[in-house]
């Protein structure tokens, strides 16, 4: 049982970070970023190249993943999403754009890195063993790093000036603009930040599960699940959704093992029931 909970917490920390980026972009731009999973994979590949191929320290690789994705996210917002949001008659048009960018990133990664599963050497070896719990040290480290990053992100959103501006934007775009918040600038920063989070998680996880160019779509789906559980556009909701999904996955894989691969079926059925009671998730606002 302790093992299951520990696994759930570790998974949940990863998932929460992924969901945070997605929900941030959604809150600021009202864009459902289909390419989020692809950004995650790209972050993984950057870390793979720098840490696995060039043999530079893991931290450097992680920072590079974050910076690369932040730049890509910022550019995407400025040159792709902003013009389309401005000119399109229906805001759903951004979904086509997001899907197209997802395809684009997939294609680029396939060309650059091929379709093989890529892994990197362990960051720390060794396994923590007690009488009830077996956890490799690198998992513990990655989990702790993820939780630290979530905390840092929340502090940033809560107390820094850009964080405050972004929260204002998420609450009411027009009102924020009237109060002198530079809407365009902070939209871009927000998009870059969301993309960066995806990239950093990708970099973190490449050291454990490895990465291949095909997993972007499934990761996006998981991120959507978490955002639905917690409520779209709410930071607390994304974190809660991430931990809940991680826990359910961990418990489901153990409890439902003898019935075959039906964990996700059960999760989805539960989600349907949950959503028919609370259509906006745990903490979502009644819009979106």
């Amino acid at each position: 049982m302790e093992q299951v909970i520990a696994n759930g917490l570790y998974l949940g920390a990863q998932y929460a970070l992924i969901a945070l980026g997605l929900t941030l972009i959604f809150a600021l731009m009202n864009v459902l970023n289909f390419a989020h999973g692809q950004m995650y994979v790209l972050g993984g590949f950057v870390t793979y190249t720098i840490y696995g191929q060039l043999k530079l320290p893991f931290v450097v690789a992680l920072v590079c993943s974050g910076v690369t994705l932040a730049v890509i996210g910022g550019l995407m917002e400025k040159f792709l999403f902003r013009p389309v949001v401005r000119r399109s008659k229906r805001e759903e048009s951004t979904m086509l754009l997001a899907a197209a960018t997802a395809f684009f990133l997939d294609a680029v990664m396939l060309l650059l890195f091929g379709e093989k599963q890529r892994g990197v050497p362990k960051i720390i070896s060794g396994v923590f063993v007690s009488d009830r719990l077996i956890l490799p040290y690198d998992r513990i480290l990655v989990g702790v790093l993820a939780i630290l990053m979530i905390a840092a992100f929340m502090f940033f959103m809560q107390y820094s000036k850009p964080g405050r501006a972004m929260r204002a934007l998420a609450q009411d775009r027009v009102a924020a603009q009237l109060m002198g918040v530079k809407v365009e600038r902070y939209s871009m920063i927000g998009f870059a930040l969301g993309a960066m989070l995806a990239g950093v998680v990708g970099g973190l996880l490449v050291s454990i599960t490895g990465v291949n160019s095909g997993i972007g779509g499934p990761i996006s789906i998981k991120a959507f699940l978490m955002v639905m559980i917690g409520g779209a556009g709410v930071v607390g909701g994304a974190i809660a959704g991430g931990f809940i999904l991680g826990m359910m996955e961990s418990v489901g894989l153990t409890v439902l093992r003898e019935y075959g691969d039906i964990t996700y079926l059960v999760i989805f059925a539960l989600l349907m029931i949950f959503l028919s009671i609370r259509p906006h998730g745990l903490m979502g606002k009644p819009w979106g």
């Binding site: 086509l96 899907a99 684009f104 789906i221 959503l275």
Partner: protein
Amino acid sequence: MRKTSTNTLRVVSAALFLVALLVAVPLLINATGRSDLYYTLTSVALLSIISAGVWITFYIGRINIGQGAYALMGGYVSAILVMNYGMSFWLTLPLAGLFCAAASVLIGLPILRLRGVYFAMVTLVLTEVARLLALALPITNGASGIVSIPLPTGISLFGITLVPDFATLANPRLAFYIVAVLLMALCFLGLYRLAHSRIGQLCQSLQQNEELASSIGVNIAYLRVIAYALSSFLGGVGGAMFASISQSIYPSSFTVADSVNFMLNCFLGGLGYVLGPMLGTFVLYFGWDLLFQTGEFQLLIFSTVLIVLMLVLPNGLLSLALPRKRGLER
């Protein structure tokens, strides 16, 4: 008077288009000897039927990325009925549609209360669930799928053969092509009627403001379930047809990528136009096929073109030709 003349014009042009598809295209294909085009065009016709279903959900203001689930369901229902119960394919075609419609009512009742991205995300997950279900259920035969489904048999009424047995035909591809085109014509005719009927107007009111519509007495819960059921019906019929053409169905026959593509078809054609899904499907499918020669750069070029198209024409291809047409725009 002007109205009737434009109406006649529309009927005539639609009839001409249909004749061109049914007569001119086969003649051209015969002349050039490129009979592989039959399969491509049949796929376009069927995919546009499935996409038309997505378009209906767009018409009530919902983003539906779950159409692949119903296409898969329809394919499996038809395949199982033909293989296990020996039914005629032509009977299973409407049955598959009805089964999907019934399932969509059950699924739709809770999830249609969601809006915007929430609905989009739930439907996206639905596709994945359909795939998992197909893998897990015993009747669908897991990952190996259902293969070597027999070709559709003939229909005869009072001794007159209405539809010949496909297995005896010299060119079943042509037969499938004709069936698909007829189905597509039927589907878009119905869609046109729907969009211009009272229900269509009501659906538009749903798209613009559900609360307002409900406050003036529109039964929104009923309408959106009906629209969703219709949409799933089309998805099921299209999927059943696909299973029959390829004579096989696997859990991976319709995946999340397909669901997203159905949505893209609608977007690309233009959400405000009934013919949008047809044009979008045609352009996307042929564009993808043409790019096949570019090999590994296929996806790269394809997605770049999509992004550029989106930047230049954010309201769909048809907004170029019919800029002033009374559409869905507010």
